[in-house]
């Protein structure tokens, strides 16, 4: 490869990194080697050499296409795969009719703005002394999920005879049977999935709930998934893996485009189930859904999706901050539709309520 071509490839990699695709040096190296085997002068070969080596996720492909078009003029393949749009966060447009109005607390409905508010919330603005104290305590929570039996076996003190290890013991003793080894099914923690509603009406609680989710991710980084629901579905598991809660929440806030916007809970839940839940994320998991149930869309859609979720998941726990208020009745349209399908409805308005949630998750 000539120095000029190399310069072009490196420039493209830089463009790609700006577009958000992690084109690491080893990946770029792979692209250069791939081009040695292909025709550098052919746009199609260049396109595929880069796409096969620099991308690592369906979401990367859309960004790759955009960066390729920006850098080289156009994407040289006839039909960019349609599926890419399906796997991005899908914007759910607000419908034109008025809110469903069930049990309408005018103030709260008013706060859930009709338009998706694409703004990045500054978490640094919350600096009251009690809030800091609560945050420190939230960081100490370590939500862990109950365990399930797997199909693998491990050593056990009693149970079925472990033929393999018994025989291995015999081999060491020159073929004489000595002690029987036993085996039993291993146990593994279930997956925990947190779905947090970040719409306007949940704003006062969202910070605490996301900190709770961060504590859960920290406790079991590869067994916990966190998504936010609003007008879009956003996966923030990766952002929450940062050790420091403030760093993690800043990263999450930057990733959530619809913070304090409206809610289309049923539709967002459907997107979650289509793209993640049914594929395996929700299967056999303990799912914690944090929302006040103010559904601006069709409550029957929410009911159907919660039912679908309940069929996939091991347990569905609904955390509703309003439940902690005296005289609360689950009468909003969304809550009524979802109620028959959920296993537990608990409050999430205070630290004590969240501690109770830790306990429920562990026993689920």
């Amino acid at each position: 490869m000539t120095a000029a071509t190399l310069g072009i490839v490196l420039g493209f990699a830089r463009t790609l990194r700006h577009a958000g695709v992690p084109a690491t040096p080893d990946r770029v190296q792979a692209m250069v080697t791939a081009l040695d085997h292909l025709d550098v002068a052919s746009p199609v070969d260049t396109y595929w050499a880069g796409r096969l080596t620099l991308c690592g996720d369906p979401a990367d492909i859309a960004r790759y296409d955009a960066a390729f078009a920006a850098y080289f003029g156009r994407v040289p393949i006839v039909r960019p795969p349609r599926v890419v749009t399906r796997l991005r966060a899908v914007p759910l447009e607000a419908d034109e009719d008025e809110g469903t109005g069930e049990g309408g607390d005018a103030q709260l409905v008013g706060r859930a703005s009709r338009q998706e508010v694409l703004r990045h919330r500054d978490l640094a603005a919350l600096s009251a002394a009690e809030r800091d104290e609560v945050r420190r305590m939230l960081a100490l929570l370590a939500p862990r999920v109950g365990r399930r039996r797997t199909r693998r076996y491990g050593r056990a003190r009693n149970g079925r005879v472990d033929l393999e290890r018994t025989v291995r013991g015999m081999l060491r003793q020159g073929g004489e049977p000595t002690r029987l080894a036993h085996r039993a099914r291993r146990r593994k923690p279930r997956r925990l999935v947190v779905l947090a509603d970040v719409s306007g009406s949940m704003e006062p609680y969202a910070d605490a709930l996301l900190r709770f989710a961060h504590a859960a991710v920290r406790a079991a980084p590869f067994n916990t998934e966190v998504f936010t629901l609003g007008t879009r579905l956003t996966r923030i598991t990766r952002e929450l893996r940062a050790r420091d809660p403030d760093v993690a929440l800043r990263a999450a806030a930057a990733a959530i485009p619809d913070w304090s916007g409206g809610t289309r809970l049923g539709d967002a839940l459907k997107v979650f189930l289509d793209q993640w839940g049914q594929r395996g994320v929700a299967r056999g998991a303990v799912v914690v859904l944090c929302s006040d149930g103010w559904e601006r869309g069709d409550p029957t859609q929410l009911g159907a999706q919660v039912e679908r979720l309940a069929r996939l998941a091991h347990a569905v726990v609904w955390v509703n901050p309003h439940k902690g208020k005296p005289g609360y009745q689950p009468i909003t349209g969304g809550m009524v539709a979802a109620l028959p399908h959920i296993d537990q409805l608990i409050a999430g308005h205070s630290l004590a309520a969240l501690e109770r949630l830790v306990q429920i998750i562990a026993e689920a």
């Binding site: 791939a34 292909l38 690592g56 599926v83 199909r151 393999e164 025989v167 073929g175 289509d274 395996g280």
Partner: protein
């Protein structure tokens, strides 16, 4: 084998002769994987032809296909090798009274080793190793796989290192039930396998099921493409459209109509909700 690996187009033609019709990107990916000895990592919806690519490649290369099906909790003993303990004990009993040192050496002989898929692939190379549904295995297994793929060798403490002379062509597939670790993806060619275009799907149907009437193949491809856009719980893949076309053909259909479509819907749609939805929308258009 040599002729097929001269260019992506030559490989695409060779694959086509086996009955697998790849698009340009997939042919380039497979070509580069062969030439650069890098694993090929395929993601895509179920039934788009991830697994069948591996068998088609094995056919093109005239090499054996070794398949490792991943599942939760899979470990090295299932993927790599295991000792045949009962046979070792029998051997021990039969050889009682011999020199203990020699006996011990003879106990860890290759013939008491049970080769599991990865060791089989390394011993049989050149071959195609299909690691199917890697997303079902645990993270720890990925790390282990990474190690084996990096040096194409397996070290067995009692025997030594077994190295592949020509590295096997490794094809990994994932259905995205879990995000596979970046470290593994980085060492592979990543290809997202989309559903085929209408023309390609018709070509696949005619290629794989030459007995099916052309009109029926076109109808099935068209309606399947519509079903994929109908917002279903499980959109049908190529595997389903092949099943559907064959089912219709066996019922003697020459084209698709509302009645035979309804009777054979179970071949394409695997959820009750999807079937209801399809009857209301896509299939209703057939009558109209």
């Amino acid at each position: 084998m040599d002729e097929a690996t001269t260019s992506p187009q030559a490989l695409a033609d060779a694959l086509e002769r086996t009955g697998y019709l790849p698009d340009e990107g997939l042919a380039t990916a497979a070509f580069l994987a062969l030439r650069m000895h890098r694993p090929l990592f395929l993601e895509g919806d179920a039934g788009v032809g991830k697994t069948s690519l591996a068998s088609a490649l094995a056919e093109v290369l005239d090499a054996p296909l070794v398949r490792l099906q991943c599942y939760e909790g899979i470990d090295a003993a299932q993927a790599l090798y295991d000792w045949d303990f009962p046979r070792q004990v029998l051997h021990l009993r039969a050889a009682e009274g011999r020199d203990p040192d020699e006996l011990e050496r003879s106990l860890y002989d290759r013939r008491f080793l049970v080769a599991r898929p990865i060791l089989q692939a390394i011993e049989q190379a050149p071959c195609v190793l299909l690691v199917d549904e890697i997303d079902r295995a645990d993270d720890e297994f990925e790390a282990f796989l990474l190690e084996v793929l990096a040096d194409n060798a397996v070290t067995i403490p009692e025997i030594g290192t077994i190295r592949a002379e020509t590295p096997p062509l490794v094809v990994l597939t994932s259905n995205r039930t879990r995000e596979v670790h970046d470290a593994l993806k980085r060492r592979c060619f990543y290809h997202w396998l989309a559903h085929p275009s209408y023309e390609r799907e018709v070509a696949i149907l005619q290629r794989r099921l030459p007995e099916v009437a052309e009109r029926l193949a076109r109808d099935v491809a068209r309606v399947t493409a519509r079903l994929r856009e109908a917002d279903l719980l499980k959109p049908p893949g190529v595997a389903e459209s092949l099943d559907w076309a064959l089912a219709l053909h066996l019922l003697g259909a020459r084209y698709l109509d509302a009645d035979n479509a309804a009777a054979t819907l179970g071949a394409v749609l695997k959820y009750h909700e999807d079937a209801v939805r399809a009857r209301e929308t896509v299939l209703a258009e057939l009558t109209g």
